[in-house]
Symmetry: C2
Subunit: 433 residues, 2 copies
């Protein structure tokens, strides 16, 4: 993917907070999201430092023309799907224009600063789900995750039989994808207890899974597969994903049809969608795999730049440990399969993908101990001890899990994803009616 002026590390914004060291949203990022202020309709915006650029305000001020205007109009409603449907090129035009407008030394600075209500403090806004997620597919792209957990169950053959031939996946539940900040209720479910009895009650092994996700831009027609090139162009933008997992329920239910209620309790995503363009400087070669991918899952472009070098972290706060403690530090470059391969595989049977469909990587564990990206893996060497002496095998009510992601590369301004966080609520009581 071509780099352009929007990636120029010398570019700084007149929005001061965007230039702070460690800021997730410098002018080089410009992720899209949906926000609402009290008494106003939900609308699309772009994160810049600690502010949100209100795309409706930008349209009202006449700041956009041509494709940039088309993009801003598509993004000014309560979900980004219309923008995603236009494909990456149109979003790129808006990105270029926003970069000009927000650039401290840009010719358009004065016009932008004069636009009424263009910037909204992020702390005054409610961040909403960025897209209507019609379908949510969860992959299992990390060989370290699969291998580490598989080694417990099948030491002689830890990986699933198909793992090295295709990106293993399942359809998960789209109706329970929620935005960061929404609390997550501990599920009720059926599991085998320690005394071997089977019973129904609150999940006793609630886990997080640190994942990375992509939104599909334009979809495909039913019955029409996508080539690797076509698939790559449809990977619209990225977010952090917490695929909450009820391990006791999962263990009991999943043979042979896969995880079901263990996963549909909730899936939290970060509110800002970082575009493929913003991530272009952080692309890296897809992992070299053996056997090599089947021809339809292979391309020179994918070998050269199908992966991403993105640091991903999971942190835990508890009711008595306010300062979060880091549980996981991994990197997306470890993934065995790339998103282009995942999407190509997904559509290879003619399955129809739709704009706004969310594909998640699966747990993003890497080879190092600190890169174990869920408690089920961390637990293999015993419970976690927190700085205040508490221990955790699995999550307790009131615990809060916080994900962060950050892409860095020499010669470029680092960008981040904001947080994906949620607190665990106690289980519901059973309806008495």
């Amino acid at each position: 993917m071509a780099l352009d002026a929007t990636h120029d590390p010398a570019r700084r914004s007149w929005v001061d907070s965007a230039n702070a060291a460690g800021c997730d949203f410098p002018i080089q990022n410009l992720p899209f999201g949906v926000f609402r202020r009290e008494g106003e309709e939900p609308r699309g915006g772009v994160a810049i430092g600690e502010m949100i650029l209100d795309l409706r305000a930008g349209l009202a001020a006449g700041l956009f023309e041509g494709a940039a205007r088309e993009a801003a109009e598509a993004a000014s409603g309560p979900a980004l799907n219309p923008l995603m449907a236009l494909g990456r090129g149109v979003a790129r035009a808006l990105r270029a224009r926003l970069s000009e407008l927000l650039w401290a030394d840009g010719a358009e600075r004065r016009r932008a600063q004069a636009a009424a209500g263009l910037l909204v403090p992020m702390r005054e806004a409610e961040l909403l789900l960025p897209a209507r997620v019609g379908n949510f597919t969860d992959f299992m792209a990390s060989i370290d995750h699969s291998g580490r957990l598989g080694a417990v169950a099948r030491p002689e053959s830890p990986l699933p039989p198909a793992f090295r031939y295709l990106p293993v996946a399942y359809n998960s539940r789209a109706t329970t994808v929620v935005v960061s900040g929404a609390p997550v209720r501990r599920p009720l479910g059926i599991a085998r207890r320690e005394d071997k009895s089977v019973g129904f009650g609150p999940c006793a092994a609630l886990d997080y899974e640190l994942e990375f996700g992509v939104f599909v831009g334009p979809g495909n027609a039913m019955g029409e597969p996508l080539s690797m090139r076509q698939a790559r162009e449809r990977l619209w933008g990225y977010c952090l994903v917490n695929d909450w997992s009820a391990r006791d329920i999962q263990r009991f239910e999943m043979a042979p049809l896969g995880p079901f209620l263990a996963k549909s309790l909730a899936t939290s995503i970060s509110p800002w969608v970082v575009t493929a363009d913003a991530l272009a400087p952080f692309a890296c070669p897809a992992r070299a795999i053996e056997p090599p991918p089947l021809p339809h899952l292979d391309s020179a472009e994918n070998r050269e730049s199908g992966g991403f070098d993105i640091a991903l972290e999971a942190w835990l706060a508890t009711p008595s440990l306010r300062e979060p403690h880091r549980l996981t530090a991994t990197n997306f470059r470890h993934m065995y399969w790339s998103f282009a391969q995942m999407l190509t595989h997904h559509a290879s049977n003619g399955c129809k993908l739709e704009t706004g469909d969310l594909l998640a990587s699966g747990t993003t564990s890497g080879p190092e101990d600190h890169a174990r990206a869920c408690l089920a893996e961390i637990n293999l060497t015993g419970p976690v001890t927190l700085p205040n002496g508490e221990t955790r095998s699995y999550l307790e009510d009131g615990d809060e899990v916080i994900f962060r992601g950050r892409a860095e590369r020499e010669g470029f301004v680092p960008i981040g994803f904001g947080e994906c966080r949620a607190r665990v609520l106690p289980a519901a009581s059973w309806p008495q009616e």
Copy 2:
């Protein structure tokens, strides 16, 4: 569920074709669907004999009042979701009114016959998908299907470990649910070949699965489970489901996350939604199971009338065998789990169900040899020989699979589901771009 005048076997319609012996759509049925005539907008209708009652025409003629009118308005658009969202009571009011209007001896006969354009010949209409299916969940409710196939893989323990404790299920793909008549393309996919190599190509083991499905009426809020009573009231209406299955792809991909591309190629459903009220006379006790269901999956109502006595059949026509040959004759009363149990289980972790969600039973095999409801089961005793001497292990291009369903009970007029049929097209070629 209460029986009322709409179930009266003495009631005949002034639409003659509705009174013919063997007609699927007598006045006692009145299923809802969506149809389109050339040059007109899609709209809701009700099948009566060989005709469709156009609900918009009925509204225009002022035939409906109160709840019946509310229902007809909700059903007059391109999908029945708004009608389903109103719940069963509102649909029941419309059913009662339609029965009066179409009754040969009814006081409203003349008014109905005078209404312009009220009846449309079904053969002049295109039948469309009756609902927007946002989510499609496929269960595995037949112990005969699970046991028969499981005995091949695990003779010592044929049933999945959770089978007797919960209705095993997976999320399937909603975007590829299509209406009867739409052709189904043989999928491409990755499978292990006979020579043990792994390759990508056209599915070599395409199968049908004869299933029965239900549409969810009003949904639930995320985090709020449904009791058995609440779930039962949300089972809005029923259809036939062909869950096309690519067995070679399935065998290779499904460990451990379940079937994925083997199922998302297409799922065909019959166009008419037979309401819970129409099926009331054919309810039968849910199967007595051992161990008994966990308390939250049990209710007196379910034990008494959670099942359905519905004969289900699958037929095959081939390019050289025009007269269809019956492959399967089973009955839905054999199911181990009831739909009320399936829906209660589905929402038990707080998973949000939405109006128009489709839950399918899984392959509806019964204990008899002729009740094997997919080729994978039939194949266990060798390929099928057709009357013209052809044999089939799995489906070939050009084959057409036809499902029929019919409910009969002494003292009531039998009702049917119409057909769910589709022809197999050759696989797509891989995109060259």
